[in-house]
């Protein structure tokens, strides 16, 4: 192995792959077989974190950054003057295995620029995964990109070796896509998603009849959307995320704040700040939809097209619906407790268990770990102390904001700093 050359290529191709934010290594059921290498049946593990605070759990690289497309938002677009490189199949396999054996990574995340044709690219990606699974007997996590426009047969094969497949929709609206990626068709993104979804369903129903049916993409599909490139509202973004969760049973939708990579007049200028705060609020909304039983229309609708940047979406919802509060923590329904700002799902679980044995007061709730500085305006408990003033939503927001600050606030707040 020519170490110097590999190092150079790794630098180029890791640099090009880093804008893909998907990092999860969980959700697969692949166990170690016949004393091979690796196991991805447990929880995901983040082996380190970069200085921007994002986790590193997979070796995330492109096979090549040669690309025949010219999408304005993408750093590897055809017209961009950058260094190009390509790995061979064997090089990717060697890197993955050697990193994995040293406990650096949970597996491989392989994407690629589209060279020659979508099918030729997809074939090469599958070749890497196949070699890892069959020759190296690798049971770690493999995340492959579905290349838009790849044939259904190839997508079916990809799922036999990969744990997760993903197509990045990138631009949430069709109009935006037309503006920024004129060579790409919205249908090309949807087609591989459909093919994979269909195969997952087929394999799952066969598994019920025949236990020895091989696993097919056990960690499902995911996708990603760029935030802040074409001026869509938070409502547009979350409604299309909701569409993918419902229609394609996506395991995850990722939101990636647009990082200016070109001087194109259709896009925010170079040096524009990354909308990290907005991204954070979108993820919080995503969680409310998936785990807290919220309906998308409750959080974003015609009246509220964008999320509140000052406070989290749950608090924002609660402030708009003060008529539903306060609730008594000792009697309220589980779903209602989950809607109280400052109480997460783990605390909900603990509260439900604990209140069977005694009435809970503030001291219990604090010991359980709820954020009482937010929750205290919305609940009563077994105590004579409760918020007795008739505060307006604006006053509550004011009180809460004085006491707290987000870890994204200082650096990434849209508020201009006086001194910097």
């Amino acid at each position: 192995m020519n170490y110097e050359r590999i190092r150079e290529k790794l630098g180029i191709l890791a640099d090009a792959a880093k804008y893909d934010v998907s990092c999860s290594s969980s959700g697969s059921k692949r166990t170690n077989k016949d004393k091979g290498l690796g196991d991805s049946s447990g929880m995901g593990i983040c082996h380190t974190y970069t200085e921007d605070g994002r986790c590193v759990s997979l070796l995330k690289i492109l096979l090549t950054n040669h690309c025949i497309f010219d999408c304005a938002y993408c750093v590897t677009r055809k017209s961009n003057d950058i260094q190009r490189a390509a790995f061979t199949v064997q090089e990717v396999v060697d890197l993955t295995i050697n990193f994995y054996r040293r406990n650096y990574i949970e597996g491989l995340f392989l994407s690629s620029g589209i060279f020659k044709s979508p099918d030729a690219t997809m074939e090469r990606l599958i070749a890497v995964a196949k070699k890892l699974r069959t020759e190296e007997r690798f049971n770690g996590y493999i995340h492959l990109k579905s290349i838009p426009g790849a044939s259904d047969e190839l997508m079916r094969e990809a799922g036999l070796y990969a744990d997760r497949l993903s197509v990045n929709i990138e631009i949430p609206t069709k109009a935006g896509l037309k503006l920024l990626a004129p060579d790409k068709d919205h249908k090309d993104f949807i087609k591989p998603m459909k093919a994979v979804q269909k195969s997952i369903q087929i394999y799952q129903s066969e598994k019920k009849v025949l236990r020895s049916t091989p696993v097919y993409a056990p960690a499902g599909q995911s996708t990603q959307m760029i935030v802040g490139a074409t001026g869509e509202s938070d409502r547009d973004i979350m409604y299309s995320a909701h569409f993918f969760y419902e229609k394609f049973q996506m395991k995850r939708v990722y939101y990636s704040g647009y990082i200016p990579v070109s001087n194109d007049s259709r896009l925010p200028a170079l040096g524009t700040q990354v909308p990290v705060m907005r991204e954070n609020r979108l993820y919080q909304t995503d969680w409310l939809l998936r785990f807290y039983g919220f309906n998308i229309q409750e959080i974003l609708n015609d009246e509220h097209q964008n999320l509140d940047m000052d406070v989290d979406p749950k608090l924002s919802w609660a402030l708009r619906n003060l008529d539903q509060f306060p609730i008594d923590i000792n009697f309220a329904d589980k779903h209602m407790i989950a809607r109280v700002p400052g109480i997460g799902m783990k605390s909900v679980h603990k509260i439900i268990n604990a209140r069977r044995y005694r009435k809970l007061g503030w001291e219990h709730l604090k010991a359980l770990g709820i954020a009482s500085n937010r929750a205290k305006y919305f609940i009563t408990c077994d105590s004579r102390h409760f918020e007795s003033r008739d505060l307006t939503a604006a006053q509550i927001k004011q009180h809460i904001m004085i006491q707290s600050s987000s870890k994204y606030a200082g650096q990434f707040s849209p508020q201009l700093r006086l001194f910097s």
Partner: protein, 256 residues
């Protein structure tokens, strides 16, 4: 008079002590490790002689009343090695005998909550070790790593590494507690290293800079990857340090 039970610091020793406090019907007993025990004029002390039979009886009872969950909680709390954890465990077992359901689910009870909090700390450290351990290939056959975890997590991380690295020999050595776990392609065994033996030299070499060249290369490749995958315009050191606390940086070649 307060009765103090002095045990050898082992898991079975602790269980034996619990057995003895019950059989003596001791009032408000204390249980301490022999290593940190200081005799007091006002307390009578019992030296606990570790006994497999007694320990098994306690363990069986715990399992019967609180199933595997309670057994796991008690074991992990013990691994935290915190001061006073023995008494917390004793009080937890007393609660378990009195009201089995409350002991596992009543998070409003201070004893239950204390155990859960200790277990949570241990669980976090376990997960961090699974993430931050870095192996170096030595002598072309042994993947070795040294660690100094806050809690004694080696016994609970062994199954994770065993199922993951089933086809390579590996050794994880706890420098602080002076023992390690070694996988010889068949089973995981606990080992202690003789300071003059060859493996010690091997382990020592992982901390110094005289690694074989291929090892240095892979470490460099990894460091390069780490550097390139960072997005400079999103730099957020507060978040970074929150995820990778500074006390773990010593394991991570990319942070050294």
């Amino acid at each position: 008079m307060i009765a103090t039970y002095v045990y050898d610091g082992s898991w079975l020793g602790l269980l034996t002590s619990v057995f003895d406090t019950f059989s003596h019907k001791a009032q408000q007993p204390r249980i301490v490790k022999a290593r940190i025990y200081e005799p007091s004029f006002f307390a009578e002390s019992h030296e606990v002689i570790t006994c497999l039979d007694k320990a098994t009886r306690v363990l069986t009872k715990i399992q019967k009343l609180g199933s595997n969950k309670a057994r796991g909680l008690v074991y992990r709390a013990f691994l935290s090695e915190q001061d006073g954890v023995e008494e917390e465990i004793l009080r937890y077992i007393q609660l378990l005998l009195k009201n089995p359901a409350a002991a596992t689910n009543d998070y409003g009870h201070p004893v239950t909550l204390a155990i859960h909090q200790a277990v949570k700390k241990v669980g976090r450290e376990k997960h961090r070790m699974e993430a931050f351990i870095r192996f170096h290939l030595l002598d072309e056959q042994l993947y070795a790593a040294t660690i100094e975890p806050d809690f004694n997590v080696l016994p609970i991380i062994a199954p994770h590494f065993e199922s993951r690295y089933a086809d390579q020999q590996w050794l994880i050595y706890d420098i602080k507690r002076k023992y390690g776990i070694y996988y010889d392609l068949n089973t995981v065994v606990e080992i202690t290293l003789d300071p003059t033996a060859k493996p010690t030299a091997l382990v020592n070499s992982t901390t110094s800079n005289n690694l074989p060249e291929t090892e240095n290369n892979y470490r460099d490749l990894w460091n390069e990857y780490f550097k390139k995958t960072n997005i400079e315009s999103r730099k957020n050191m507060k978040l970074h340090v929150q995820h990778v606390p500074k006390r773990y940086w010593k394991y991570l070649s990319e942070k050294v």
